[in-house]
Symmetry: C2
Subunit: 106 residues, 2 copies
DNA sequence: CTAACTCATAACCATCCAGTTATGTATTAT
DNA sequence: ATAATACATAACTGGATGGTTATGAGTTAG
């Protein structure tokens, strides 16, 4: 399980997020396929995939000379946890406001 | 409403995340208070606050020579939206696995 | 009025990072 | 065997970025 820091950093780059999104939607794909519409060189794509892999967001599977990458959305769990904590403050305040308005109503 | 990109970038820095978390937990605070336990200089803190403000994650209120900053956790909403999309793929696969296991059970 | 305080901005610097090209290592095709 | 393919790694480069000190602008205190 990776830290929120690693995951935030990995997803802070738009190109990386696009790769992750594409793997989520399109399923397992080779480096070559990902390079085609990434608009950057193959080594750049490989580097991004390496970073995503370190964050646990993707997994790879060697098959002959191809490497198939796939998304592992479960790796978003620490981010969900982090967000749930601070989204809670949001609701908390909303609740406070609500109860305040209720009291003002009376 | 800011883009997921701006928000991801803002929160990808640990120092900035710490400031945001502190504002969420501790409520409104001045730059001076935040500087005290940030371990960096006051201008550095101000710059971080500026970035958080651009992302809509904090708001400020001038009062005399002090500036009071406060967290705006609602700004996490676009991040929640983004995550819900891709967390869905997670559950989708989980559901597939589950139904597969169910079928195998019979 | 002057001094001290709070904060923001400017200028600068070191480091990081996303991209590049070049090259190496397997693997498949001829 | 040779050539082509698929990918990873190394070395490099320019620009973004997080930090610093210096300074300015506005506000309170003496």
């Amino acid at each position: 399980m990776q830290t929120p820091d690693t995951i935030f950093k990995s997803l802070s780059d738009p190109t990386r997020r696009a790769i992750f999104e594409r793997l989520c939607r399109g399923g397992e794909q080779t480096v070559w396929m990902l390079t085609e519409d990434a608009g950057i060189s193959q080594p750049a794509v490989s580097k991004h995939l390496g970073i995503l892999k370190l964050a646990g967001l993707v997994g790879d599977r060697r098959e002959g000379r191809e490497t198939h990458y796939s998304a592992k959305p479960q790796a978003l769990a620490p981010l969900l946890d982090w967000m749930s904590i601070y989204a809670a403050f949001w609701h908390e305040r909303f609740d406070h406001l609500e109860s305040l308005l209720n009291r003002m109503d009376q």
